[in-house]
């Protein structure tokens, strides 16, 4: 079994705005790998496409047109599964000038085929947790019952009593107090942090190969955030589950990730080992990553009460995607030598050192 657990190649997920009669290019050619047992942190501003990438991998994009291109391979239990296999039959993309101008999609056929592909994968091989945990749990059902449902669906445990015991064990494992009592609680009666723990328990109780965590700490109190991060870290070591961690919070990414991918404007602009990408001073890095890191106030900056270093400009409007490098409009590292290329041609994601890739014209490719 070689190769990464999850491999996303050139994913394109588009949405459509009826009000503007235009495509929203949420994910526009993104490629990621998650190796067995590792945590890949995906970081970027809102609108960078990181959440949609995760949703696309889990087959949860329902809005039209949705996933229109790319390849997602999941290797687990000795078999390699193509999660987008055959879907080209249902989608026809018309391009003009390298730009998508029209999409035709047979929605029902696509949905049926996609459901068939994802059956047995969703929940069992790929489990997902979301932000806003209280809204993500069924308000009409007890937390315990929702856990039991997962256990009975995806593990060998079919008996109700057995499943209940297993569920309570998991509640304990995610450090929820009085798990036996909490079993009968409804989500509205639990705090946000507790709901998130319950959701983590629910996802992991199926013993998946990959856990996709979409902004698991966003919306929680700062102290609770820290606890959840701790819990995720501990569980990662205990279970060895690979994780695709999405967050706009760099500190969370830093604490949990083995490798990091930085997304901007729907593509990956930098990827590599966490220590390399997030290091304070690195020999080669994408200007966006640098700006992100600089935006975090350092202890010194706080002491000196200096201004925050914000990134100039607005987040990329994913309707009007520019021709050249997507970050060109906000980049403060452009030199005259490469200006023309930055403005007109999108740089490829190229290796600058072993395992470290950057999408920028500043760095000549290492062939």
């Amino acid at each position: 079994m070689s190769g990464p657990l999850l491999s996303i190649e050139n994913l394109r997920t588009y949405f459509y705005s009826r009000a503007k009669r235009a495509f929203i290019r949420s994910v526009d050619g993104a490629s990621l790998d998650v190796a067995r047992g590792e945590t890949l942190g995906v970081v970027g501003e809102s609108g960078s496409g990181k959440t949609v990438t995760a949703l696309s991998a889990a087959g949860l994009v329902t809005a039209a047109p949705g996933v229109i291109g790319g390849r997602i391979t999941l290797q687990s239990n000795g078999t390699a599964r193509e999660l987008l296999d055959g879907l080209e039959r249902y989608v026809r993309v018309e391009e003009e000038d390298g730009r998508v101008v029209a999409v035709e999609k047979d929605e029902r056929g696509w949905r049926r085929h996609a459901e068939a592909l994802m059956a047995g994968v969703r929940g069992k091989e790929i489990a997902m947790i979301f932000q806003n945990p209280r809204a993500a749990l069924n308000p009409y059902s007890t937390v315990g019952n929702q856990l039991v449902e997962t256990i009975r669906l995806h593990t060998g445990v079919k008996g109700e009593r057995e499943a209940k015991e297993r569920a309570i064990a998991w509640l304990e494992r995610v450090r929820i107090d009085s798990p036996r009592l909490r079993f009968d609680n409804f989500p509205f009666g639990m705090s946000g942090g507790m709901c998130q723990r319950a959701m983590i328990a629910m996802a992991l109780s199926a013993e998946p190969s990959l856990l996709v965590a979409d902004e698991p700490t966003t919306g929680l109190d700062a102290t609770i955030q820290s606890r959840i991060v701790e819990l995720l870290g501990d569980l990662k070591e205990e279970t060895g589950t690979a994780t695709l961690l999405i967050s706009h919070d760099i500190s969370v990414i830093q604490r949990l990730s083995d490798r990091v991918a930085v997304m901007y404007g729907g593509t990956v602009v930098e990827s590599g080992r966490a220590t390399e990408v997030l290091a304070r001073d690195a020999p080669a890095r994408h200007p966006y990553t640098e700006a992100l890191l600089e935006a975090i106030p350092s202890a010194e900056a706080i002491r000196n009460k200096s201004y925050l270093r914000a990134i100039e400009g607005d987040v990329l409007d994913t309707i009007e995607v520019p021709r050249g490098c997507r970050f060109y409009g906000r980049c403060n590292k452009v030199t005259d030598a490469i200006r023309e290329r930055c403005a007109g041609l999108e740089p490829p994601l190229a290796e600058v050192s072993s395992g470290h890739k950057v999408r920028c014209w500043l760095y000549p490719t290492k062939t």
Binding site: Y16, R18, T62, P65, V100, A102, K105, D106
Partner: protein
């Protein structure tokens, strides 16, 4: 197969296309048809009011009973007494037009008052308004109207007052819902913070700026309701009486001939009812989708 096409060039980040361009064709068709009907109704009302009718609606032509359409200058034929159907149909609008306006005036105005009382102040006032709403909703409208008829005889204006009053809860709910939405978005608090007096906030900001579309929609739907009530009542024999035509009593009078196989005298007014009610309902729904629609995912 669904087709998505990028038709617009750069239009700016947060702006959208103007209303007519971004509305769905279906809704534009609904509204178009609805406006057509409204125009026809208003025109016919005026024609009936001023007597500009193709034939005298009371003139009976005994030799030409139940004539089908397009006979001898009668565009839609004649009824069982030889009277011109087209003129009678046009005149039939008199039976519900003004009363209907009364009904929607009451239900919209009353609904606004109740909705504002419930939403703006809240507290016990809201509970009282809720009680009134539930009370009014407890009666089947027709039964209440029959009760009023038993008490006061079948005066169409009294009946439309009842229709208007029973229509208030729906508008009230929508208005107080809008106010709750505005409160949640802190618009009202902001208006207060700016020092605007209560009556300005209510009249200008809440009702005019934010509620006017839903009030218009309620008015069109209310008119459809009024027409349904009036035609049902005159079918039952409580509305205008012979020889004055009303679409309801025309259907009823034509029913005998229906069962003998002659459909037209009963069907012509029924189609008029259908087309008109449909017009007002589609207008209301189309406007609702265009102006107040909530975006659905996928």
């Amino acid at each position: 197969m669904r087709r998505f096409v990028q038709t617009q060039g750069p239009i700016g980040e947060f702006s959208a296309l103007p209303l007519l361009q971004r509305a769905e064709t279906r809704d534009l068709l609904y509204v178009g048809y609805g406006l057509l009907i409204v125009a026809l109704v208003i025109a016919s009302y005026l024609m009936g009011a001023f007597g500009w009718l193709p034939h005298d609606p009371r003139q009976m032509d005994v030799g030409l009973i139940n004539a089908p359409a397009l006979t001898a200058g009668h565009l839609l034929g004649t009824d069982f007494l030889g009277r011109d159907l087209q003129s009678r149909l046009i005149l039939g609008i008199q039976a519900y037009f003004l009363p209907g306006l009364l009904a929607i005036a009451i239900s919209v105005a009353g609904g606004c008052v109740l909705g504002v009382l419930a939403g703006y102040r809240g507290g016990w006032l809201a509970a009282v308004v809720t009680y009134i709403d539930n009370l009014l909703d407890s009666f089947p409208r027709l039964v209440l109207i029959l009760l009023v008829i038993a008490a006061f005889k079948a005066d169409i204006y009294a009946i439309m007052i009842v229709v208007g009053i029973t229509g208030m809860p729906e508008t009230a709910n929508l208005v107080s819902g809008k106010i709750a939405f505005l409160k949640q978005k802190n618009f009202i608090e902001a208006a207060h913070a700016l020092g605007l007096p209560a009556h300005t906030v209510i009249l200008k900001h809440i009702l005019w700026l934010n509620c006017r579309t839903l009030l218009v929609i309620q008015a069109t739907l209310g008119m459809a309701e009024a027409i349904i009530v009036e035609t049902s009542l005159s079918y039952l024999g409580f509305g205008v009486q012979e020889p004055t035509p009303s679409w309801g009593n025309m259907v009823q009078a034509g029913a005998n001939y229906f069962l003998q196989g002659n459909f037209w005298p009963s069907t012509a007014p029924a189609l008029a009812i259908l087309a008109t009610i449909l017009g007002f309902q589609l207008l209301g729904d189309g406007l609702n989708n265009m102006l107040e629609g909530k975006r659905r995912r996928g």
